[in-house]
Amino acid sequence: MKTFYRILHFFILIICLLLQIVFFENLKSFSVDFDLIMVVIIAITLFDSVFWGMLFGFIVGMVLDIMVGSIVGISAFIYSMNAFMVDRLITAGFRYKLLTYSFIVFLITEINILIVSLIRYLFNFDSNLLRMGLELVTKPVCNIILMFIIFPIISSGLKRETELGFKYKNKI
């Protein structure tokens, strides 16, 4: 059953990747900027495991970079690190609560923006501080809104697994 959910989650992630390219990029007017893939990676890490979060993050990040990225490898690195950071936060004592999820999405979005800007700056690209500041304010809000849609989808199957007793079938 777990394998089925992992395949399903990967499939969802690939759909989200295409959605990000064909649809969410068009919403970038009025400083509305969603990172659908990041939110799904966080959800997979929280509800599946950090291993799969990192692995899926790496694969999907690499595909995104190859399809439309300017530097191949940056998104793969960022999404894998995201999964690892979420795991560190949970290990540090964060509870599985809605407020925690929101905080994690907020924090990871801010870290992503700063890391990407830093990497780009180090690789001799110029950095626009005003735009980055605006992004630091608006992007987390957009991603938290997205979280309310994505998290129930990713966690739904796992909850049902507990309800139906699959999780404890060996003990029964």
Binding site: N26, F51, F58, M67, V68, G73, R120
Partner: protein
């Protein structure tokens, strides 16, 4: 068991970081391997991407129409002004065209040829601070090659940077890495337009003493891979900074990059 798992996660992360660093380095060296993988991946996702794009295009159009609605009044006034100006110029140009053609014939100079184009549909859009690209549904099998220009009825959109078999990636002219040789139509002065992180297009290398006026039309120059005299945009702002030998000129493109759906790839 838990320790083992943690250890495993650290090892996986370490492997991923090393892999990413290797790939980033290879990517920076502009390796053929990365380009080939890019071409294959773009081709692989093309059919499903096309379906997704068609499915979501009504929503995208709706969102764009909201954006348009907000600027409607201002746009209407600008169009009215532009229309009256164009009417005046139209009659002037017809006479000039007839005169020009007859003079060319007299002197034995060839008439300007129209360039061959390949019609294409936009199936993907990607915008971030550091890049602006669109994906088209035509590729090498249709005759599209890297470096070809892409236009629509309003003017220049960008240049093909990756050509797959059935699809291609186009770098838009507002991409920070975009550099295109241009001319100011009225003064015939040469310059280079560049995109920027905030998606503003600037015209560079125009000397400070050179007169440049708001609403001057910018076209492609003959010195480059693109055909000459393709419309790009109009001058929206001209400033002169102290100590800078060049003018800071902002260009407003004729093309609305958010709304491009059908385009033409110039086959030259």
């Amino acid at each position: 068991m838990i320790l083992n798992r943690r250890f495993r996660n650290f090892i996986v992360l370490a492997i991923i970081i090393v892999l990413c660093l290797v790939v980033i380095t290879v990517s920076f060296r502009q390796s053929d391997l990365i380009n080939n993988i890019k071409v294959k991946t773009v081709d692989f996702f093309k059919p499903i991407q096309e379906k997704f794009y068609s499915f979501f295009s009504p929503v995208t159009r709706f969102i764009n129409s909201i954006r348009d609605y907000i600027n409607l009044r201002e746009k209407y006034l600008n169009l009215q002004r532009e229309n009256s100006e164009l009417r005046r110029r139209y009659s002037e140009n017809i006479n000039l065209k007839v005169e020009n053609n007859s003079l060319r014939k007299l002197l034995g100079i060839e008439l300007r040829k129209d360039y061959a184009t390949i019609p294409a549909k936009v199936i993907g859009y990607y915008e971030s601070k550091w890049q602006s690209e669109v994906v088209l549904n035509v590729g090498r099998s249709d005759g599209v090659l890297e470096g070809m220009g892409v236009i629509d009825e309003n003017g220049l959109i960008g240049v093909v940077i990756i050509a797959g078999n059935d699809s291609c990636n186009v770098r838009l002219i507002n991409d920070p890495r975009s550099n295109i040789g241009v001319r100011i139509l009225s003064s015939r002065k040469l310059g280079i337009i560049q995109g920027s992180q905030d998606k503003k297009i600037t015209l560079n290398y125009i000397p400070g003493e050179e007169p440049v006026f708001k609403d001057d039309i910018i076209i492609t120059s003959e010195y480059g891979k693109l055909p000459e005299e393709i419309l790009i945009g109009r001058v929206s702002k001209v400033t002169k900074n102290m100590g800078d030998p060049y003018k800071a000129i902002e260009i407003e493109p004729f093309v609305d990059f958010k709304k491009i759906e059908y385009v033409l790839v110039i086959k030259e």
